[in-house]
Assembly symmetry: C3
Homo-oligomer: 354 residues x 3
């Protein structure tokens, strides 16, 4: 991303004070270790001080208390919350690179019964089915698919190749990643006597509230009846699976490759680690943190940190791991002791095991 | 999904007896807790009785022995197997919402050497390569890709954006989910002396038999030579990985995010839990249940339940978990006991660990 | 894949000596157990001897020391490295099935500001954005998406439906699988006081060096600033997640469904097993082997094999598993012993646990 801004412009955008040359021209933004003299970078946390000390960046956004770690040649923008200042700058850069005004690529195919607001941008190869309603400032990426009867709220961005299946609802200010699938058929069957499965047609939908992010190639299945619900502010990473009839509570975050089985209800502000899994028909309360790769097989009723498979409260799990490590050390002594105290029974036990 | 049916119509469709007003008009189907007076719902299992007692549904499909849990105002359709009755109703609703007759969207691109039955429906943006054969009543969703030399059997539904690669075969009555990839290149390489890898071009295919479901964004790799085979009736959930030369036995079911490594052979009627993994070149016998997140690193030769990493027979795993929990409790006593009986050796051991 | 070659042709292609009829016509290549008399097969490893002894193949590529296991009727091509000989044959077959010369399907949509080499092949439904540069002999599969400002090196193959997002770089001789996403938004947020998340726009890119393979539906996120880097010769399987700002070292291989969290740096020649996960901000040194489903939560500084969650050096893990198995056997004796030696404390402990 290339741009052309004076340091004073950036200071105004992010609300920072300048220590250095307000007229300095900046044309790129880069990490401390790769930044050149035409780039701006940022130093927000103490662990990056080693990179800051050797940076070649022309300018750096930082907090007043970290500024002294920068080389003297570096111009500074001082801000009490440098991460938010960087977020402001990135927001500005992305907003200014956006093309304004509605546009529909001539290769897009839009059913006449659908209603698009004037400012909607539809990229090449997009197909929009019947009876859809697309709000103002929505962007739909290349080759994305919007099936029949879909509603998409204002300012939402649908990534290239993403698929929103029939009847689904995506709120305002959402971001659906490239290749994501919203509203695939739920994995629900009736088992027959001969061991085969009978399909259950899922006629529900997926309802995504406002401000939700869905990562690349993530799949959210439609409900059998009713809705699979992703509540306001939820953030979902790549390759996550969310099954039919699940509910994800407000402002919860799911890291990549996590999986939530059918009808499970996740509380508010949960954080679910990468590759973690929740069994079907479980419930988690608000403010639960589930570690990466954890396997949750029972409902969680107390806020806290949980990890492991089967998942348990973090301190219990750590105690359990420590006990196992100690057992490895103690085992030879233990064998000796048991041999002494009950030699005959031990031998008998061993025979039974052979 | 909206419709307009009399209770007597529904009773006829599902073969139920009516307790209530046969002329009642029903326009939607919804879960007990969200159903309104114009909706029909169902009560099939005892654990949903609490929802049934408070439902606002106009009518409910249920079993005779569960009917008394419903409010008096609710009209009932009584059926000895209410889940199957619901499946029948959903089949009917989906079938009646289908547009009859073949149709090829004008934006689809179909190679002239391919043969499509008259009733095939091809959506917008679909591309079908050379020498394909597509059977009667097949539906191909928006922007789906059918590469060269693919065969698809009757009544199969290919989801939006799904990709069936060259030479692959999909049977009759299958369902390939949105974004699924059938026939991607196998992950097979020769390791070279310098640590780099030489590609092996995989020239085999994927052969999917009849009645198979493949979930959204699931990937099934082609064989190096010969076929990766998915047998009749297999059900595969979202984001599953099936590697080159794997065979999945009839009526097995694989939950979301499961992974099967190269050349593994899964028996009939296996159930593989979510996020479970099977190492390459292993074999499972018929009627094996593998728990969620299990890691199977050896062949399984006895029917039964297996879980954990490395996977073991369920009762062994539970015993093992119980033993570890007990160890955490006993460890302080054990330390004391060992300290008393063999203090010097313990100290020595500890020194060595430091 | 069908062809028509004399045994002498194949011998010349792979540099083998013939034992049998040099004029034999071969029209297919198949595994030993499925090969027919018109097929060629191969026997490279001793464990496949049982299949070799009963093969119906017309000809078999094998090593001199394995040839005697074949039926007398089978013609042989002898080669000291039969796997490489097969790789040569497959290379030849794939190369000869390729259509030569550049071609752009009339349904493709290519922005006029992009530059394509003459020999580029662009399939139906492909969209290429503004300011892209596509090298000689690149193939872009059906409905693939190349967003603005992307560079793709010579001879690289982009699979059907794959998506290369804006600003990303793919080197020469790479293979991007069907449905893969290169350059999706990173999963990075600022947590707000009310528990909601503020998005960080990721303005970096993904830079893939030469000779890299990316599997089907795999996702590689763009960097916040700078680049997510996949170095020369890396092989990545299906459904893998690689987060923002990750670096994967040369010739490392990642099996299916592995996940690498943000800013982690993987060394050279690492092998990461299926469904394994690496936490964010960790580092692995060169020549590390990480087992399937392992969970790496700390940096690894010594080459070797690691497995389990949390991952530990393989021999430690095996010792730990053995100790736990032994504990299950010893526990009854241990309980008896502890009961005898310190009965009162045990009782007290139990009370506290209740």
């Amino acid at each position: 991303m290339k741009f052309h801004l004076r340091l004073s412009d950036i200071a105004a955008i992010i609300g920072a004070s300048i220590e250095g040359d307000a007229g300095l021209i900046v044309t790129g933004v880069a990490p401390l270790e790769h930044a050149r003299s035409s780039d701006i970078s940022f130093l927000a946390r103490r662990e990056f001080v080693p990179y800051a000390e050797r940076t070649s960046a022309g300018a750096v956004i930082t907090a007043p208390e970290l500024a002294h770690h920068l080389p003297h040649t570096v111009h500074r923008l001082l801000h009490s919350a440098p991460e938010h200042a960087v977020a402001d700058l990135l927001d500005y850069l992305v907003a200014s690179s956006k093309v304004e005004g509605g546009a529909i690529h001539h290769t897009a195919s839009i059913a006449p019964s659908s209603t698009l607001a004037k400012s909607v941008r539809v990229a090449a190869g997009v197909v929009i089915g019947e009876h859809c309603r697309i709000g103002e400032d929505v962007e739909i990426g290349i080759n994305a698919v919007i099936e029949d009867n879909v509603t998409i709220g204002e300012r939402t961005v649908i990534g290239a190749g993403a698929i929103v299946c029939r009847d689904c609802i995506v709120g305002a200010d959402c971001r659906v990643g490239p290749g994501a699938v919203i509203g695939s058929e739920g994995f629900g069957y009736l088992e027959m006597k001969d061991g085969s499965y009978r399909r259950l047609h899922h006629v529900g939908n997926v309802a995504i509230e406002d401000g939700v992010d869905v990562g690349a190639n993530t799949c959210i299945d439609r409900a059998l009846l009713g809705s699979t619900i992703i509540k306001r502010g939820v953030k979902i990473d790549n390759l996550v699976h969310i099954a039919h009839n699940v509910v994800i509570g407000e402002n919860s975050a799911l890291a990549a490759q996590a999986g939530i089985a059918g009808s499970t209800v996740v509380g508010q502000r949960n954080r679910i680690g990468g590759q973690a899994g929740l069994t079907g028909h479980t419930v988690t309360c608000d403010d639960v943190i589930i570690g990466a790769q954890a396997g949750v097989s029972k409902s969680i009723t107390e806020p806290g940190q949980y990890s492991g498979t089967p998942a348990q409260e973090l301190s219990r799990r750590l105690r359990s791991e420590a006990a196992l490590r100690r057992l490895v050390e103690l085992l030879p002594l233990l064998e000796t002791l048991l041999q002494k105290s009950v030699p005959k029974q031990t031998d008998q036990l061993r025979d039974e095991q052979d």
